[in-house]
Amino acid sequence: MTEICRVAAERRGDVAILSTDGYINNQGGEEIARQAYAQLESGARALVLNLERTRIVNSIGISILIEVLERVMDRKGQLAFCGLTPTIDKTFRIMGLAQYAAIYPTESEAVRALSQ
């Protein structure tokens, strides 16, 4: 199915960048979580979630992203989002995600902020 979410990982020093492509539902959220935890296990200190190729994240997907965020915070790591569409940005604000995670317009801004 075309709408299934693909997740690609990239590493810049101790910052891991996960880029999604497609609909983030429970499966998409779980795939992000799996890759995020693998990055943390292998030494990443900060995570950037680049959602620029995703136009819909449902509330189940977001609840999984919140779990990832909590796990990162428990480890004193950092998590930032970038590339949000106005609708996803609005939804993150409705759910209060924006209070707990940084949101940057672009990936390079997110990586720069987390690399400091």
Binding site: M1, N58, S59, I62, E70, T85, P86, T87, Q99
Partner: protein
């Protein structure tokens, strides 16, 4: 465009209760939105609200006919503003909105319960929302102005 004439101009879509069917339904919202030249970001808001309403029907309604019925209507207010109205109907158990515990970021982040945001998202993204629920099922009517 004569879609809004006579009230008879509406598009109905029935989907089975099955994984990912909500995404198939969003295609129709997008097509009707594009039909009235609604901007892409507003179409996205309608799509996500529709997704949440469908997921609720899939997860909670236990509909007797195992289906969710959507209706798309295009209309115009007397002041000229055009809107897209989406109705999401299930023939399920119904629920009492007054008994639904409101979510909050604090509760969500303290870890007790991460879910429970669907109706809030629908209300946050759409311009008007009405929910009618009873023994016959649930009907959510939501509107977005162009």
């Amino acid at each position: 465009m004569s879609l809004n004439a006579a009230g008879a101009r509406e598009i109905s879509l029935t989907i089975p209760v099955a994984a990912d069917m909500e995404i198939v339904a969003t295609a129709q919202a997008a097509a009707v939105g594009e039909f009235i030249d609604m901007p892409r970001d507003k179409i996205d808001e309608v799509k996500l609200a529709l997704v949440e309403a469908c997921i609720n029907a899939f997860e909670h309604a236990h509909a007797r006919d195992d289906r969710v019925h959507l209706t798309f209507r295009v209309g115009r207010e007397r002041d000229g503003r055009e809107f897209l109205e989406v109705e999401v109907l299930d023939r399920g158990t119904g629920f009492d909105e007054a008994l639904v515990e409101a979510p909050s970021p604090e509760k969500t982040f303290s870890g007790r319960r991460k879910r429970g945001w669907g109706l809030q998202i629908i209300r946050g993204l759409m311009d008007s929302v009405s929910i009618l629920s009873g023994q016959g099922g649930t009907r959510i009517l939501m509107r977005k102005y162009k």
